[in-house]
Amino acid sequence: MKEIRIHGRGGQGSVTAAELLAVAAFADGKFSQAFPAFGVERRGAPVQAFTRINDTPIRLRSQIYEPDYVIVQDPTLLESVDVASGLKDDGVLIINSDFDPEKFKLDTKAKIMTVNATKIALDIIGMPIVNTVLLGAFAGATGEIRPESIMEAVRERFPGKVGDRNAQAIMKAYEMMEGQK
């Protein structure tokens, strides 16, 4: 089983990202589960969302304490949230940032990768909505999921131009991370 934890802020689409990841993983032939851990529900408050991907049906309902992968949608969360908590040594932590990974001194042996998802989102989608972009980055960095499945899931949720632009941004982030691997 692969476990993914997404850290974001209310309104950034962390929960949607986890859901889209579950839809995409199922399309890839896996079983999946996605669920949120809401704080107080309001824009800006720290939020966690979780996705599990497995070959067999998933029964476990607890939150994810030892993730294989962590996605951080907003680097300012690092000041208040231990995003690397429990992350497996051979795991990957993806941070939305324009800085190099070396800047982030986190208590983990896992590989840290950064992607400037905010810039990609502003350039291609026209809004600083980074959740789908980071899913593209996740696919590129981990190879756990096909980018086509993510694009398909996103297009289904956001039909028309919005979906198309998101798909474009996903592919861009995917290619950037693939190059870094």
């Binding site: 529900e41 029964r59 309902r61």
Partner: protein, 404 residues
């Protein structure tokens, strides 16, 4: 009867638990829906409203109201005229319905209501436990608890069938853990329209509110009669015990899916330790059991699906030969220092020859997460009970002493 699941992955879709429920409600062809939005039930009524707006639920009215009290009151009228009636609520909303819950059961109206289980204020808390529905256990509603979104979707059709049976005519709550199930995305087979039309025929009650043939529902009953009405309700509940089982079997025959009748079992055959629980925690417990079985710990699970009517016989049969029974409760009866499932389980064993020790844990209050390690620790403590007897009969779990 063996229940081997025949679920084809090709027929599954990944959707939110709330959508699965709303879709199931639509598939059951309701005639009247009335509900008031409240977290974490909101997505269910939003999806139903969308179905209504898109014209996807024919021959149905969605009545907008200003409170949960009014929502259920509206359904008293609609159900009495013979309309299949549905609502959904949780927590404070359910508690606000308290008075009407008795009316619905007393007038023998087979309303079905989804409860997205949530803690009750104060302090205000929007997260999951089961205090809300457990606090309504004496209102005369059948209460079923689901472990995943497939089960709660399927349970919706089962609940209508059970409630509308002419021998029963009692309302049902289908309970799903708030957020944990209402907001989870996972694969399931959405309730099939063609099979459901066959499984659940249109609601045709014996007695309806009809101006051409005037009747009074819930009329005055003085001390000469009141007891007998209460007795009839109890008789219906006892009949529901059999009906819940037979409807689950019939559902299995037609849909190929089964999640238990009154109860379900997992590795109980040879179990020394039997855990009893209700709702979404079941899945986590099953994973823990698989882990411990590899280490030869003889532990099994008794999933309680029906809390009302209470399946005393079924439970006794399963736990009779165990060495210890552990009951997990997402609720507390304050002043008893115990949860309801624990109290009921203990009470059915008195006056019998079953002498298995029973211990209780109040767990997952107000959404506190239940990791596998917590269940493992509880099982380790249960192993101690087998060796040296009960030290603490019932207790809070994962209490943070440093906060008190």
């Amino acid at each position: 009867m063996a229940h081997e699941m025949k679920m084809n992955k090709k027929n599954m879709v990944v959707v939110e638990g709330s959508y699965a429920v709303a879709h199931a409600v639509k598939t059951c062809r309701p005639n009247v829906i009335s509900a008031y939005p409240i977290t974490p039930q909101t997505h269910i009524v939003e999806d139903l409203s969308k179905f209504m707006a898109d014209g996807e639920i024919p021959n149905c009215e969605y009545i907008n109201v200003e409170s949960e009290f009014s929502a259920l009151s509206a359904l008293v009228g609609s159900s009495a005229v013979g309309a299949r009636s549905y609502s959904a609520t949780t927590s404070q909303g359910l508690e606000l319905m308290h008075e009407v819950l008795f009316n619905v059961a007393g007038m023998r109206l087979p309303i079905v209501m989804t409860v997205t289980n949530r803690a009750v204020s104060a302090p205000i808390n929007i997260w999951n436990d089961q205090q809300d529905s457990i606090s309504q256990r004496d209102t005369g509603w059948i209460q079923l608890y689901a472990e995943n979104i497939q089960e709660v979707s399927d349970m919706t059709a089962q609940a209508f069938k059970i409630s509308e049976d002419r021998d029963i005519m009692m309302p049902s709550m289908t309970c799903m853990d708030g957020f944990i199930l209402s907001h989870v995305y996972e694969p399931l087979i959405l309730l099939e329209q063609d099979i459901t039309d066959e499984f659940l025929p249109p609601f045709k009650p014996e007695r309806t509110l009809d101006p051409k043939n005037p009747l009074t529902f819930g009329a005055f009953a003085d001390p000469h009669f009141y007891t007998e009405f209460r007795y009839q309700q109890e008789c219906a509940m006892q009949k529901a015990l059999k009906k819940i089982e037979s409807v689950a079997d019939e559902f299995y025959d037609m849909y190929g899916r089964y999640f238990g009748g009154l109860i379900d079992e997992y590795h109980t055959e040879d179990a020394d330790i039997i855990i009893m629980a209700m709702g979404s925690i079941i899945g986590t417990i099953k994973d823990v059991i698989d882990r411990l079985r590899e280490k030869n710990v003889k532990v099994g699970l008794l999933k309680v699906r029906a809390f009302r009517p209470f399946p005393a016989e079924a439970i006794m049969k399963v736990i009779r030969d165990a060495k210890v029974v552990v009951v997990l409760d997402k609720n507390i009866s304050l002043g008893m220092n115990a949860g309801a499932l624990f109290i009921e389980t203990k009470s059915i064993l008195y006056n019998t020859d079953i002498t298995v020790p029973v211990i209780g844990y109040m767990i997952g209050q107000g959404g506190r997460d239940i990791p596998m390690s917590t269940i493992e620790r509880i099982i380790a403590e249960a192993e101690e009970v087998i060796i040296s007897g009960i030290k603490k009969e019932s207790q809070f779990t994962d209490l943070k002493e440093e906060l008190i």
